[in-house]
């Protein structure tokens, strides 16, 4: 299996290493060349990716309010600004100069990704977690996007393995095995087990054909907060209607400037599979 080490830079979604990239994930924060097979990215030390979907570009020089970053577009990838939802113009060159005055950070979402977010960031983490969820979809040129979200209670250990440690052997172990030459029965050994093994739910989002967004959950963790908002970027024409699980949704907002569909005021259950369609 050639998935680690020297082939690391080739582990992109788009270069035939899907299995490896999915089963042996890269670090949470990674360099651009982890995701894009382009040697010119090896020297890029001013940008970083969070996961495979979020690109951070910040101003690193003092007294400057612009910075130049690379936004790879060779495989049709586009980048959408996190704050303004404007697409980065990479038609001339992948090297784009961003206007970032003091207090601004360049954050861009990669096309073809679906992110699960907290809809209402609050004053504290508890308030934030008590609010609803938002799904942010950035469609690629073919109207496709995918993403996963793993949700648990944030405290318990997810499925920790049971392990036996030598330090936890009983104090009479050495004497017993030395004198008798017998192994201590396994049932007599102390084992270290997780105090509480938490449930986890994995939400799999898929958007297809500029018209459909699916979610299929697996796992046993119960998400208590509802899905309140869906934002879909990259929808080129205004939809005339939308339905969630076959029921029409009323509050569909379309912003032509950012090719953005916003469905707010929802009360969806993320524990069940659901399907959003628009036409």
């Amino acid at each position: 299996m050639s998935g680690s080490g020297i082939d690391g830079p080739k582990m992109s979604k788009n270069s035939g290493y899907i299995y490896i990239a999915d089963t042996l994930p890269s670090p949470p924060v990674r360099a651009l060349f982890y995701e894009f097979d382009d040697p010119s990215l090896y020297s890029n030390d001013v940008q970083f990716l969070v996961g495979s979907s979020v690109l951070v570009t910040s101003v690193l020089q003092p007294n400057e309010s612009t910075t130049t970053g690379i936004f790879p577009s060779a495989d049709g990838t586009t980048w959408t600004d996190w704050w303004t939802h404007q697409k980065v113009d990479t038609s001339k060159s992948d090297n784009v100069t961003l206007d970032l005055p003091l207090g601004e950070i360049g954050v861009h979402v990669r096309s073809g990704s679906v992110l699960l977010l907290h809809a209402d960031p609050g004053y504290t983490l508890t308030e934030t977690r008590e609010g609803g969820y938002e799904v942010l979809v950035v469609l690629d040129g073919k109207g496709y996007a995918e993403g996963t979200a793993k949700v648990d209670d944030g405290v318990s250990l997810p499925g920790m393995r049971t392990a036996t440690f030598k330090t936890l052997l009983p104090p009479w172990y050495t004497l017993w095995s030395g004198l008798s030459g017998l192994e201590v029965p396994v049932s007599h050994l102390k084992t270290l087990t997780a105090v509480s093994v938490g449930d986890q739910t994995c939400l799999n989002f898929t958007a297809t054909n500029f018209s459909c967004l699916n979610s299929s959950p697996t796992g046993s963790y119960n998400l208590q907060q509802p899905l309140t908002k869906i934002t879909i970027l990259g929808v080129t024409s205004q939809p005339s209607g939308a339905s969630l699980n076959g029921q029409d949704v009323s509050g569909v907002e379309y912003k032509a400037e950012t090719e953005e569909v916003v469905l707010s005021g929802l009360n969806g259950d993320l524990n069940q599979a659901w399907e959003l369609k628009w036409w």
Partner: protein, 106 residues
């Protein structure tokens, strides 16, 4: 016995007196000096000063310095709120990445 002797000879250095002799321009302050302006703190080890020449500008807790919390300036406060809200919104995404790295990571 020899090491004990060396230790006694080093005693004035450890107490900071050697440093004071080398840099008479920064005399040791006493309570009677009634300082109102920010002063250089007398450090016993001169090598620290060489290693971190800008240490004085980093010491916000000395006398006379204004407080440096983000909420002191409106521009910093609004920038902090904006960045923290984005970070809080993205938390489920971060937790997904951490869960994957922890369970299946290389």
């Amino acid at each position: 016995m020899q090491s004990l002797d060396a230790a006694f000879r080093l005693l004035p250095v450890l107490q900071g007196e050697w440093h004071d002799k080398r840099t008479p321009e920064s005399p040791r302050l006493t309570m009677a000096d009634n300082v109102t302006e920010p002063q250089h703190q007398v450090r016993p080890c001169p090598s620290l000063r060489l290693a971190v020449p800008d240490m004085d500008s980093l010491m916000f807790d000395r006398r006379g310095a204004i407080s440096q919390e983000p909420f002191v300036w409106d521009s910093v406060a609004s920038a902090s709120i904006k960045a923290i809200q984005a970070r809080y919104a993205m938390l489920p995404y971060w937790l997904t990445l951490f869960a994957e790295a922890s369970q299946y990571g290389m």
